[in-house]
C-alpha cells in the first residue's frame, strides 16, 4: 500500500505528535507514505476568505506535485484533507474554474488533471484500506478498559458525505473497538470545535469547546481521540482557559487517534509523541492499561 503523503504545516511543529505517530503506525501497518516533495501550505480556511482562485491554485500545486506513478494522496489534517479534495472536485465539476487553475499552475510549469489523484483522509486509509483483519492481527497491547471518545469534528465528514456518515460517523468508533477500547458513544462527536474562532473571538470559541468537553465528561471519558491538529489544539491547549471562563474543572487528555493506535500496536510511547499534549494523558493511560 503506497500513498503520497501530505503532512501539512501543523504537523511540522504544533502537531508533531501526530506526525511521529502517523509515521510510526504506518510503518507497523505496512503503509508506505511517500512525502510530497516541497509541498506548500493548503491555506486552511483563511485563503478561501481572501481569494478563491488563488486559494485553489495554491492547493492545486500540491495535487500537481503528486508523482505520476501514484494516484492516491493522504492527509492527516482535516482542513488540508478537505481543501485538497475540494479543489480536485471543483476542478472536475467546474471546467471553467479548472481551466483557470491550470493556467495559473502553468506559470509554475505545472498541470493537474482533476480526478488523477484520489484524496483520502488518513482515517479512511487505516480503517478501510488496511482494514479490520490486518489491524486486529497486529494488536499486541489492547486498549482494554480505556474509555476513548472518538472525536471527528467537521471537515473530514462534511460537506462530502463519502468518507463516513456526516452526522453520526462510526469509522473511528469501529477502529477503537478493534483495538479493544471501550468506545464512548456520545452525541457531539461530529460537532464543531470552533476552528479558527479561538484566534478571533474567545467567548464563542470557548463555548463550543465547552460543549464538547462537557459531553465527553458526562459520558465518563478517559481520553478524547481526534484526527485534526486544530481540534486537538482547541480542546487541549485551551482547556485550562475554558475552565477559567466557565468555572469548570475539565481535565480530559486529547490525543491523536494514531497515538492510541500506535500504543495498541506496541510502538513505544516515546516514539508516539506522548507528553506533547498540554493536558497530560500519561496518568490515565498508565492507570487504565496497567490495571488489566
Amino acid at each position: 500500500m503506497k500513498y503520497a503523503f501530505y503532512p501539512g504545516c501543523s504537523l511540522e511543529v504544533n502537531a508533531a505528535a501526530y506526525d511521529v505517530s502517523v509515521r510510526a503506525v504506518a510503518r507497523v501497518l505496512g503503509v508506505e507514505l511517500v512525502e510530497l516533495d516541497d509541498w506548500n501550505c493548503c491555506g486552511a480556511t483563511e485563503y478561501f476568505s481572501q481569494d478563491e482562485l488563488t486559494a485553489c491554485a495554491v492547493i492545486a500545486r500540491n495535487l500537481a506535485l503528486v508523482e505520476p506513478s501514484m494516484n492516491q494522496l493522504t492527509a492527516p489534517c482535516a482542513a488540508c484533507f478537505l481543501n485538497l479534495k475540494k479543489v480536485d472536485r471543483l476542478m472536475a465539476e467546474h471546467p471553467d474554474l479548472g481551466g483557470k487553475i491550470n493556467e495559473a499552475l502553468a506559470a509554475g510549469g505545472l498541470h493537474y488533471d482533476p480526478g488523477r489523484v484520489r484524496v483520502r483522509h488518513l482515517l479512511e486509509v487505516i480503517h478501510t484500506d488496511v482494514g479490520e483483519e490486518a489491524i486486529k492481527a497486529k494488536v499486541v497491547r489492547p486498549l482494554t478498559g480505556l474509555r476513548v471518545a472518538p472525536y471527528y469534528g467537521c471537515q473530514v465528514v462534511r460537506p462530502y458525505k463519502d468518507v463516513d456518515d456526516p452526522e453520526y460517523p462510526v469509522k473511528m468508533d469501529e477502529l477503537f473497538r478493534w483495538l479493544g477500547a471501550e468506545v464512548v458513544d456520545y452525541p457531539v462527536k461530529s460537532h464543531c470545535c470552533g476552528g479558527h474562532m479561538t484566534q478571533i473571538s474567545e467567548p464563542e470559541a470557548f463555548e463550543l469547546i465547552r460543549r464538547l468537553l462537557q459531553s465527553a465528561l458526562e459520558y465518563d471519558t478517559d481520553v478524547i481521540a481526534c484526527l485534526c491538529p486544530m481540534c486537538q489544539l482547541n480542546m487541549d491547549a485551551y482547556q485550562s482557559r475554558v475552565n477559567g471562563m466557565f468555572n469548570t474543572s475539565f481535565h480530559i487528555p486529547v490525543l491523536y487517534f494514531t497515538q492510541l493506535l500506535g500504543l495498541a500496536l506496541g510502538v513505544p510511547e516515546k516514539d508516539l509523541g506522548f507528553g506533547k499534549e498540554i493536558v497530560s494523558a500519561g496518568p490515565v493511560i498508565h492507570a487504565k492499561l496497567a490495571a488489566c
Binding site: D165, E167, Y186, P187, V188, R211, S215
Partner: protein, 669 residues
C-alpha cells in the same frame, strides 16, 4: 401517382409561435417540400375550426396524406385521426410532428428553432407518403377487473365495480386488506374513528358476491392488452387452509412463539408466529410466519395443529399460482413510510423517545400496544411535552423532493390527541403549514385555539446533549425560529417525526409488469396530470390512491371511484379498438429459427411446429419492434414502422444536409 400532402402548422397560441416562425415554416413547406399540395398555419389546430379546415382540404383539395405539426401525439393524435376519418381519409395516413415539446419548449433561439421545425416537417412528409391505411382491431372487453392493493383506494374501486354488477378480483399483498388506514386511530379533520369507517368496507368487499379476494398474494405477470389481459397471481402459502379455518384464533392463543411485530404494530408490539395482523383483519384467517415458526425453523412444536379443531393448519401448503383473464387493471398499491434513520441528526433508533408518525398512530390507538395511552418508550411514563417535527424526508432533495401532502394535517391531528389525552405541551416545528382541503384550515385554527405551539423552522437536530439548565434528561429540539430570526432550543420528553410518504419499494417493478412508468419521484405516471389523473399511458391500466402521489383519504377514495367509473365505461362499451400497429412475419422467408420467440417481451410470438414457422399473435403484440430488429432473415415487418418509412423519415430530417451536399458536388464540378 404522386401523393397530395396537406401540412398544418399549429401556433398553439404562443406556445409554439413564440419561438418558431410558424407562418414562414408553412410557406416553406409548400414551396420546398415535394408533394405538398396545401400548407397552412393556424392559431389552434386542435380547435373545431382547425379540424374543420383539415377536413375541408381533404375533401376539396383531394389530399391523400396529412401532416400536423403541433404538440405531442399523446395529446392530440386521436383528435386529428378523427378529423381525417370524418373526411373519409384513413386515419393512419395522418402523421403528427411534435414542434412544441421537441422544439419551442426546449429551444432558446428563434432561428434555429424554426429550422428544426422545418426538418421535422420534412421528415414527417417523407414518412407519411409511405404510410399505409390500417384498420384498428376490435377487441371485446372482459368485464372482470383486477384491482391490486386493498387499501382504501383499492377497496373503493372494488366496491364501485362490484356494486355495479361486475366481477372483481382483488389482490392484496399482506394477510389482510385495509391498508394504512387500518393502523390509524382517528382521521383528520373530522376525527372520526378510522376503524369504524374502514372495517365495514373491508367486510363488504370480502362478502360481496362479485368480489374474489386473494390476500397474502401478489401479481406476478401480465400479458395481453386492454380488454383481454392475462394475469398470473401468486397466492403465497398461508399454512392455513382458508376453506377449513373458522377464524377462532385458538392457534394464535396457544402458539408459544412471540415475535416483535414490525409490520402492523411498527415494532411497538408483539405477534405470534401464527398471527392475524389485527383483530378485525379481513379475511379473518391467520397465517404462519415461517421465518419465525419453531416448526419450520427447528422441526419441533406443531402446537397450532393440535389446537385447531377444524384441522385447518397445513404445514405443507405450497404457493398457489392462479391464472386469470381480465379486461382492465387498477393499481392501488399506496405508499410506504420513509426510513427516519436516514436522518441521523434526528436520532431515530438511537434516542429512545423519538417516534415515527406511524408508531404514534399505534400508540394512540385504543386497540394498539398501549391501549391508546400516550407513553414514552418505557411503556408507562406520560410525556409532559411533545415535539412534532414536520417534513422528515419530504421537501428535502437529499431524500424526497416532494411534499407528502398529509403530514401537516396528521401533525395537527396528533397535537389534538396529545392535548386531549395528556394535556402535555405540544410544539409543531413546520416550514409551511399545508392545510388546503375542505375544513383543513379550520382544523388548524382549532389547534391554535387549543393551545398547540407552532414554531416556524425546520428542525436542525435533536439531541440529548444538555447545554443549559433544564435540558438534562430531555430531548432537545434545536432549530431556528425563523419568525424571530433566532436559534431556539426546546427541551421535550417525546418527539414525533412526520416521516414522508414514499412510493412502494417495488412500485417500478410492478409498473413495468403492467406497462406503466413512474415519475422521477417514483409515483405512477398518470395519462395527464390535470385532465386524466387515473388513466395511464397504457390502455386498460388505471391507478388510484397514494401510488399515484401522496394524498389524503378523501382524495384516494375519489380516485378509486374515478378509476372504477373509467373501467365501467370500457365494459359498457363492450369493445375497444386497439392500435393496428403490430408485427407480422412473412412465412415464406421464415426459417423457423425461433430467435424471435424468446425475444418478444410480451410472449406474443408462437411457433408452428408443423410448418416450421413462427407466427405473431396479433392480440398480444404491442408493436414494440424487438422482433423486427432481431430476425436474422429480415422477414418481420412492423406495420407503421417499417424500414422504408423510417429510412424516408431520416432522409427527410436531413434535407438541408442533402441540399448542402448537392451544392458541394455542384461546386466541385
Amino acid at each position: 401517382m404522386a401523393e397530395r400532402v396537406g401540412v398544418y402548422v399549429c401556433h398553439c397560441g404562443s406556445n409554439i409561435a413564440g419561438m418558431v416562425d410558424c407562418e414562414a415554416v408553412a410557406r416553406w413547406a409548400k414551396e420546398n417540400v415535394s408533394d405538398v399540395a396545401v400548407s397552412r398555419d393556424y392559431k389552434f389546430m386542435c380547435s373545431s375550426l382547425g379540424q374543420a379546415m383539415i377536413e375541408e382540404d381533404i375533401r376539396k383539395e383531394g389530399l391523400t396524406r396529412v401532416v400536423v405539426a403541433a404538440c405531442s401525439p399523446h395529446l392530440h393524435e386521436k383528435t386529428f385521426r378523427r378529423a381525417c376519418s370524418n373526411a373519409g381519409l384513413n386515419p393512419y395516413l395522418m402523421q403528427m410532428c411534435n414542434i412544441r415539446e421537441h422544439v419551442s419548449w426546449v429551444a432558446q433561439e428563434r432561428d434555429p428553432a424554426t429550422e428544426k421545425a422545418k426538418s421535422l416537417i420534412s421528415a414527417a412528409v417523407a414518412r407519411v407518403k409511405r404510410q399505409e391505411p390500417l384498420e384498428p382491431m376490435k377487441v371485446g372487453v372482459n368485464p372482470r377487473t383486477l384491482v391490486v392493493g386493498g387499501g382504501i383506494a383499492g377497496l373503493q374501486a372494488t366496491l364501485e365495480l362490484a356494486d355495479a354488477g361486475y366481477p372483481v378480483v382483488l389482490v392484496e399483498r399482506s394477510p389482510s386488506i385495509g391498508g394504512h388506514m387500518a393502523q390509524f386511530d382517528k382521521t383528520f379533520p373530522t376525527l372520526d374513528c378510522s376503524a369504524c369507517i374502514l372495517t365495514p368496507k373491508m367486510s363488504e368487499a370480502y362478502q360481496h358476491e362479485n368480489v374474489t379476494l386473494y390476500s397474502y398474494a401478489e401479481l406476478e405477470e401480465v400479458s395481453g392488452s386492454v380488454g383481454a389481459f392475462k394475469v398470473r397471481i401468486r397466492k403465497r402459502a398461508r399454512s392455513v387452509r382458508e376453506d377449513l379455518c373458522t377464524g377462532c384464533g385458538a392457534c394464535i392463543e396457544k402458539c408459544p412463539r412471540k415475535v416483535v411485530d414490525n409490520d402492523f404494530e411498527v415494532g411497538l408490539g408483539y405477534r405470534k408466529a401464527i398471527y392475524m395482523p389485527f383483530p378485525q383483519a379481513v379475511p379473518k384467517i391467520p397465517v404462519i410466519d415461517r421465518e419465525n415458526c419453531t416448526w419450520f425453523q427447528r422441526g419441533k412444536c406443531r402446537v397450532c395443529e393440535k389446537m385447531c379443531q377444524p384441522g385447518a393448519i397445513d404445514y405443507d401448503q405450497q404457493d398457489e399460482i392462479i391464472e386469470l383473464d381480465v379486461g382492465n387493471i387498477i393499481l392501488a398499491t399506496g405508499w410506504k413510510l420513509f426510513d427516519c434513520r436516514k436522518i441521523p441528526q434526528y436520532g431515530y433508533g438511537r434516542l429512545a423517545n423519538v417516534f415515527t408518525n406511524m408508531e404514534f398512530e399505534r400508540l394512540c390507538n385504543a386497540a394498539g400496544p398501549t391501549s391508546g395511552k400516550i407513553v414514552l418508550r418505557d411503556g408507562k411514563t406520560e410525556p409532559r411535552s411533545v415535539a412534532i417535527v414536520h417534513c422528515v424526508g419530504s421537501r428535502d432533495k437529499n431524500h424526497n423532493e416532494h411534499c407528502s401532502a398529509v403530514c401537516c394535517m396528521a401533525a395537527l391531528k396528533f397535537g389534538h390527541l396529545v392535548l386531549e389525552k395528556t394535556g402535555a405541551e405540544v410544539y409543531s416545528f413546520y416550514i409551511d403549514m399545508r392545510t388546503n382541503q375542505k375544513m383543513y384550515e379550520e382544523f388548524y385554527c382549532r389547534l391554535l385555539e387549543e393551545g398547540m405551539h407552532f414554531i416556524r423552522g425546520r428542525v436542525a437536530e435533536i439531541t440529548d446533549a444538555a447545554r443549559m439548565p433544564g435540558e438534562e434528561g430531555k430531548l432537545i429540539i434545536q432549530c431556528e425560529d425563523t419568525l424571530l430570526g433566532r436559534q431556539r432550543r426546546i427541551p421535550v420528553d417525546m418527539v414525533i417525526l412526520m416521516g414522508a410518504l414514499e412510493p412502494q419499494a417495488d412500485a417500478k417493478e410492478l409498473g413495468l409488469k403492467c406497462g406503466i412508468s413512474c415519475s422521477m419521484a417514483g409515483w405512477y405516471t398518470e395519462r395527464h396530470p390535470k385532465l386524466d389523473p387515473v388513466a395511464t399511458m397504457t390502455d386498460g391500466v388505471f391507478v388510484a390512491g397514494a401510488c399515484q402521489g401522496a394524498k389524503d383519504i378523501p382524495a384516494a377514495v375519489a380516485q378509486g371511484a374515478a378509476a372504477a367509473a373509467r373501467v365501467m365505461g370500457m365494459i359498457t362499451k363492450g369493445t375497444v379498438e386497439i392500435e393496428p400497429v403490430v408485427a407480422s412475419i412473412d412465412e415464406e422467408g421464415c426459417s423457423g429459427c425461433r430467435i424471435c420467440n424468446n425475444m418478444c417481451p410480451y410472449n406474443a410470438i408462437e411457433y408452428d411446429a408443423g410448418r416450421n414457422v413462427s407466427r405473431v399473435i396479433t392480440a398480444l403484440c404491442k408493436g414494440c419492434g424487438t422482433c423486427v430488429a432481431a430476425c436474422p432473415a429480415g422477414v418481420i415487418t412492423g406495420s407503421h414502422f417499417n424500414n422504408e418509412q423510417i429510412g424516408a423519415e431520416i432522409e427527410g430530417i436531413l434535407w438541408d444536409a442533402r441540399a448542402a451536399a448537392g451544392r458541394g458536388a455542384a461546386a466541385a464540378v
